[in-house]
């Protein structure tokens, strides 16, 4: 009887030691980590990289470079709408696209409407407060040639503990002068998520 008690006590201690406590491990920022099946940083980064690469390697790009005598086009990022079933931080996705655009060296890009409003406020403030030598002039902004807009959609198919999540990101690049769509691209991601119906 006392042996059984000792074994039980040891088992309880082991369980108690094994439970609780937080463990933090640093991982590579580019590593693929899927925990819940929801849209994550990997999806955002991969989609942004792939779509911007695709966008800048299409025929419209060379045509525009020729039209502009070798000067790279200037792009502004417009509204990217989240129409999926998840609360996705669209701002992170936009930042990933901005990074991909700048790092490509194939396009310049200018601040979006919200950032421009803030910059104009700063400019107005400088006009009355900054010294003449350091003051920046109004009316010197670079007008964008193209605007990138898009939507993030999702479709869910589920049965019991199994779920297929299908994300589709649609992006469009539109010539601001002519309103002509110069490029339309999409990227699809499909995930299978399963949950156990029982556990111990």
């Amino acid at each position: 009887m006392s042996k059984i008690l000792t074994i039980c006590l040891c088992a309880c201690l082991m369980v108690l030691v094994g439970c609780g406590g937080k463990k933090v491990t640093r991982i590579d920022e580019n590593s693929v980590t899927d925990l819940s099946g929801a849209w994550n940083d990997t999806d955002s980064r991969l989609v942004a990289d792939e779509m911007i690469t695709d966008c800048l390697n299409r025929p419209w790009y060379q045509n525009m470079i020729q039209q502009k005598n070798g000067i790279v086009p200037t792009v502004v990022i417009g509204k990217i709408r989240n129409k999926s079933h998840e609360h996705i931080n669209v701002e992170t996705f936009v930042k990933d696209m901005e990074r991909a655009l700048i790092n490509s060296g194939k396009a310049d890009f200018v601040a979006n409407a919200e950032e421009r409003a803030e910059l104009r406020n700063e400019l107005a403030s400088q006009a009355g407060n900054a010294t003449e030598e350091t003051r920046k002039d109004a009316g010197q902004e670079i007008g964008a040639d193209l605007m990138l807009t898009g939507t993030l959609n999702s479709i869910i198919d589920q049965e019991g503990g199994e779920q297929v999540i299908y994300y589709q990101v649609d992006l469009e690049l539109t010539d601001i002068q002519s309103h002509k769509k110069v490029w339309v691209g999409d990227k699809k991601i499909k995930k299978f998520v399963s949950k156990d119906s029982v556990k111990m």
Partner: protein
């Protein structure tokens, strides 16, 4: 002696008061006397004592609802999202918990939310995002609610898992997003859901649905609903033509709670169980018979059983409905778009037989185990054995507690009206009215700025 002490300890451990009743008795006076802020603080302070790990869903749900009333929409969103996560994680059932529930009572299982609670979670989330003027956020919640409803129907297609008010809100969000096709479909589904429920279809919902379907040239769909057709839709047409509106959502009164109802009767394994109880509202004795499943070790004898089950108990509410005045114009009465007491009663009806059967089987199993324990622990000392047997019986009966868990801060009813307005500044006065017509309180909203095309949501939480 050691066995005797163990039994005593078990009895002491299990004879605690029902946590759901303690929760209600502690928090209800705080809400009544001190308001939302103080109740939020109390819920957080007494998390472990009043909720515990098995009612984690309710903890976040109650907090989310209270923050919503308190117009702290970001906190409400955060807490309701956490409640939703707890619900999703509970898809995986724990064998240990289920086994513990077989031995003790349903309160030892994690609370998995009643379908209508889950659907109201999405209603509050949609309203939170609409109040924040975040259409994309509201649209995400619309989609999440549709996924949740599909999952509920997949789980049990025979139960009522739809909600007219939720469908109506979905239509509203689609309209705001400019997606008229989806809005029309949501309106059709709202009407079907109201028909499926017991409350009846609110006139305003039907007017807005008719206007939407006519505009989308879906007259066939209107006819298919088999409702008396409307000659005109003045309010809905005005909202569409003008483009802006003020939407008043009033929460009237307090939802019912759950109390214990005692059932007794006989049980024959793999035969029938005859049970009776006293109806709390009418005082009549009600008896009924259910098929009894086979219980291992029960043999063919007749067992006399008695156990408690949850029953709906009305919470005395002072507020019954609202009267709304826009810019000092004559008052209009918002319609009831959801009645929580009916939702709870429907849920009780849906689950009644399952809960009775599960509880009866558990009581039988425990009775058999208690009988075996009595004979196995006999000491030969008459007085000691008598005392021990009394303790076993008392302990056995103390183990059985009805699961009275339910969201504690839901309103008695959701009321809604849509007021078409010109762009500019408006004032709205909302009177919370009692059942006999007296004014319980007045909520004033002055200088409401309405931009072109905007839909402004006003929330009136009269949880009194």
């Amino acid at each position: 002696m050691k066995k005797f002490l163990l039994l005593l300890a078990a009895i002491l451990l299990t004879s605690c008061a029902n946590k759901s009743m303690t929760r209600y008795e502690t928090l209800s006076p705080t809400l009544e006397k001190k308001g939302f802020e103080a109740t939020i603080a109390e819920v957080k302070k007494q998390k472990d004592d009043l909720y515990g790990s098995n009612s984690e869903f309710l903890y976040y749900y109650d907090l989310g609802v209270l923050h919503h009333y308190n117009r702290n929409f970001d906190e409400s969103i955060k807490n309701l999202a956490q409640a939703e996560k707890v619900y999703e994680d509970l898809y995986t059932k724990s064998v240990t918990n289920e086994a513990a529930a077989v031995l003790t009572n349903d309160n030892t299982r994690p609370y998995r939310a009643r379908p209508f609670e889950l659907l109201t979670l999405y209603q509050f989330q949609i309203l939170n995002y609409l109040a924040k003027m975040d259409i994309d956020g509201a649209l995400v919640e619309v989609k999440r609610s549709q996924i949740a409803m599909n999952a509920l129907y997949q789980k049990d297609k025979d139960k009522v898992n739809d909600n007219g008010f939720l469908r109506y809100l979905q239509a509203l969000v689609y309209e705001l997003d400019g997606d008229e096709d989806e809005a029309a479909i949501a309106y059709i589904k709202a009407i079907k859901a109201y028909d499926e429920g017991k409350m009846g279809l609110p006139k305003e919902v039907f007017e807005f649905a008719t206007e939407s379907l006519r505009r989308m040239e879906r007259e066939d769909d209107i006819r298919a609903l088999k409702k008396p057709e409307l000659a005109s839709t003045p309010k809905a047409t005005a909202v569409h033509d003008m483009g802006q509106e003020i939407i008043v959502i009033g929460y009237a009164g307090h939802s019912p709670i759950l109390g214990e109802m005692y059932l007794s009767g006989t049980f024959v394994s793999a035969g029938a169980m005859n049970l009776y109880y006293k109806d709390g509202e009418t005082g009549n004795r009600v008896s009924f018979t259910l098929v009894a499943p086979p219980v291992p070790g029960a043999g063919s004898g007749t067992f006399h059983i008695g156990f408690a089950l949850p029953e709906v108990r009305k919470h005395h509410s002072r507020v019954d409905h609202f009267e709304v005045s826009l810019d000092n114009k004559p008052r209009v009465r918002p319609e009831k778009v959801m009645a929580v007491d009916q939702e709870l009663r429907q849920n009780m009806d849906d689950e009644r037989n399952t809960v009775i059967t599960r509880t009866a089987v558990r009581v039988i199993l425990r009775t058999i185990a208690a009988q075996k324990a009595k004979s196995a622990t006999n000491t030969g000392n008459g007085i000691l054995d008598l005392l021990k047997n009394i303790f076993i019986d008392v302990g056995q009966s103390q183990l059985e507690q009805a699961d009275l868990r339910v969201g504690l801060f839901l309103p008695g009813s959701f009321n809604m009206t849509r007021l078409p307005v010109e762009p500019g500044s408006h004032s709205v006065s909302v009177a919370a009215m009692g059942g006999s017509g007296g004014t319980v309180g007045v909520y004033s909203f002055d200088k409401i700025a309405v931009r072109k095309g905007q839909k402004v949501i006003l929330i009136v939480p009269a949880i009194k």
